[in-house]
């Protein structure tokens, strides 16, 4: 069973992250990888935080991962699941778990990306149990 969902505020978007938010509008979760050291980092940056190379490139993530940790915010008007999800690509990102019964959410459970419209019509990647 799914729970009622809160509304999502807009992300702040800048010239380093514009492509990420354009991608989410097309239903794609984009990540940044370094062309020099090959590492994927998150959140995406113009400069690789591992080796400081300025050669970084976007690629589309599988959208699959596992819950690294979570916390159900029960004392909110509309309770929600705050989470960190580790993607198959190896990075862990903050997100919400949606469309999922709170009691079914657990660390290490498999999840997949889906998207939610924000107040200003941007698209926010969130995850649901698979």
């Amino acid at each position: 069973m799914s729970n009622p969902e809160r509304t999502y505020v807009d992300p702040s978007i800048n010239m380093e992250t514009e492509a990420y938010w354009n991608g989410t509008k097309e239903g794609k979760l984009l990540l940044k990888k370094c062309c020099s050291c090959g590492e994927t980092h998150f959140y995406p940056r113009a400069i690789c935080p591992y080796c400081f190379s300025s050669e970084t490139e976007w690629y589309e993530a599988s959208g699959k991962g596992k819950i690294y940790s979570y916390s159900i915010m029960r004392r909110a008007q509309i309770p929600y699941v705050m989470a960190y999800v580790t993607l198959d690509e190896g990075i862990t990102m903050m997100t919400n778990i949606v469309e999922s019964d709170f009691d079914s959410v657990a660390v290490d459970k498999a999840v997949e990306v889906t998207f939610r419209k924000t107040e200003g019509d941007h698209s926010l990647p969130v995850f649901r149990l698979v």
């Binding site: 992300p11 915010m73 029960r74 705050m82 862990t92």
Partner: protein, 391 residues
């Protein structure tokens, strides 16, 4: 005599207020500064170094220095959230050792209770400049669910239980019953904690610290000045600070930057966790204490749940008496930043001036640790090790 110390804490003061409806923040800073100077036996004109967080009114410490009429040759407004003031002690010692100043004043003050709590999203302000903002704020992180995620992961990896976390609050409450100024003075049981409402899984209301107004101040002085002030001066034996962050998406929520700050401080002090008679451990949440105790080496990683159980943190009962003023969990958390009160209570213990019911007999070596920001995101950890005047 005894261990060498590059500087001493000569004055320590905790503001008595818990709700400052009739005072400005600047006024609170001046009141705690006055209190600490009086405690040290010094006057305002002796101060030549000033340390504050980045949250004070004005640009760094400039406005506060003017408000208090300080004439300074050294200023430092290092900002690492609630751990700032523990960082400041270390920085003050270094500045004094380098001959840059002789009498350092550290202040913290705030009135979140009187003003109402401001959300993280509102505080974060200009999203265009804050690089991580777009990847966090839409998901509605708040302090409780962020610490909740650290606790959840710790439980997953090590089998830590809510009952074990509850023992931390139980110990704090045993101490707070003797502190007439504590916000929460009732002794609570493990059952009371785990039966209190869940705020954000797995943290219950009683896993959280209180919200209060107030502040505190410290005076750090050179050894030469300490000699003139008598044996209430406390040695700063070692200090260390470090930060932790999300490491570009590859991180571990079961550790804090105390794994770095602790060893630096212990090494400088020439002591080990076994030598610590009393520990002030930053306690924004029960999980903050549990992870810190492990990270500082009081027990192995993952053994914290067992370590804190059965009253092991209660003065007169357990092996590691902690937060004998009741800490942030029961006493106060001025300005949502508890670091300075951690040092203040450690100083009280080393002077033998804690409440008689919680005073550790022959308290010689104490530790104070601050954690600022969020352990499940960006945070600052700072450790100081203090010694009684004859340590």
């Amino acid at each position: 005599m005894g261990r060498s110390s590059k500087a001493y804490i000569a004055g320590a003061f905790e503001h008595p207020t818990r709700k400052a409806v009739d005072k400005t923040i600047a006024q609170l800073h001046a009141e705690v500064a006055f209190g600490a100077l009086q405690d040290a036996g010094l006057s305002k004109d002796d101060v030549d170094g000033y340390f504050c967080d980045g949250d004070v009114p004005g640009l760094g410490g400039l406005s506060m220095a003017e408000y208090m009429g300080l004439n300074l040759k050294y200023i430092d407004s290092t900002e690492t959230g609630g751990s700032s003031y523990v960082v400041h002690v270390g920085h003050a010692v270094d500045a004094i050792a380098a001959g840059k100043c002789n009498v350092a004043l550290i202040t913290l003050a705030g009135r979140p209770k009187a003003e109402g709590v401001v959300s993280l999203a509102a505080r974060d302000g200009d999203g265009g400049k804050l690089p991580e903002r777009g990847f966090e704020i839409p998901y509605a992180p708040v302090i409780t669910n962020m610490y909740g995620m650290a606790a959840m992961r710790h439980m997953y990896e090590y089998g830590t239980t809510s009952e074990q976390l509850a023992w931390i609050k139980v110990a704090a409450s045993h101490h707070a019953q003797h502190n007439e100024r504590a916000v929460l003075r009732d002794v609570v049981t493990v059952e009371d904690v785990v039966n209190s409402p869940v705020i954000s899984d797995p943290l219950h209301r009683l896993d959280c610290c209180v919200i209060s107004d107030g502040g505190g101040a410290l005076i750090v002085v050179s050894p030469e000045i300490a000699k003139t002030l008598g044996d209430r001066c406390v040695k700063v034996l070692g200090s260390g600070s470090a930060i932790g962050h999300l490491n570009s998406g590859k991180f571990d929520l079961t550790h804090t930057a105390a794994v770095v700050s602790g060893p630096i401080a212990f090494e400088e002090a020439g002591v080990t966790p076994a030598d610590i008679d009393y520990a002030s451990i930053y306690d924004s949440f029960t999980i903050t204490v549990l992870e810190t105790i492990e990270d500082l080496g009081f027990c192995a990683k993952g053994e914290g749940g067992k370590f804190v159980s059965d009253g092991n943190l209660i003065s007169g009962v357990g092996k590691l008496p902690f937060n004998t003023d009741g800490g942030g969990l029961c006493n106060n958390h001025p300005s949502n930043r508890g670091g300075i009160t951690k040092v203040v209570e450690a100083v009280r213990q080393l002077r033998g001036e804690a409440h008689p019911a919680v005073q550790i007999p022959d308290c010689t070596i104490a530790l104070a640790h601050g954690t600022g920001g969020q352990i499940s995101a960006r945070h600052g950890s700072a450790t100081v090790i203090l010694g009684r005047n004859d340590a």
